[in-house]
Symmetry: C2
Amino acid sequence: MHLEVLLTHQPIPYPPRAWGNDPGAGALAEFYGVVRETEELRPIRALRYEAYADMAVAEIRRILGELEKAHPCRRALVLHRLGEVPVGEAAIHVRVEAAHRAEAFALLQGFMDRLKREVPIWKVAAIPRE
Amino acid sequence: MHLEVLLTHQPIPYPPRAWGNDPGAGALAEFYGVVRETEELRPIRALRYEAYADMAVAEIRRILGELEKAHPCRRALVLHRLGEVPVGEAAIHVRVEAAHRAEAFALLQGFMDRLKREVPIWKVAAIPRE
């Protein structure tokens, strides 16, 4: 599986940049986790994320490698934003391409389920709306 | 839930057109089903899709309405291409936006599981590669 993993302080682009065509890929699944206007019922204007960056990238690659054994996929992209992420902007984007739909969804959801538990990236602050 | 459902003979755009911002949406999930280079192990250059168009749109809306009761989401888009769809191009695009990830994935996958069984859209031909 071809992997791209990047932590970035820049906005995550939406719409995403297209990948080059893979004629064996029948399923493309994408997920964006977006900062909502409330955090624990309080209005916010942004969340702030921090990471142990090198370890986070290594853990993301390890989790994807483990999941791939059960759910073979062709390409995966993980972008996680760090620093201040305003409401309405994505904190994370995951894209998975596979021959078939079932594998793509299984890898994507399995990854999201493990991300918060196993990867050293944290919400360190919710910045209240004035 | 706001719904957009369209059957089209035009290519499905990728990257997708962005939706306007919804500050209560924390999860955006997208799926593209893409024509692969082989169909039942034979090389092809395209698949051809046909539909009972009015009934297909009504059934898609009915399925989404049913799924929404268990998995409340905020917006959903279904684009299905008809006619000849070349290898590498999408036959279907589904986008779901929800407050949380679990509902978005549940609606999206539940819809894909029911689409082939319940909606009158069919692969009517696989066009072999010369």
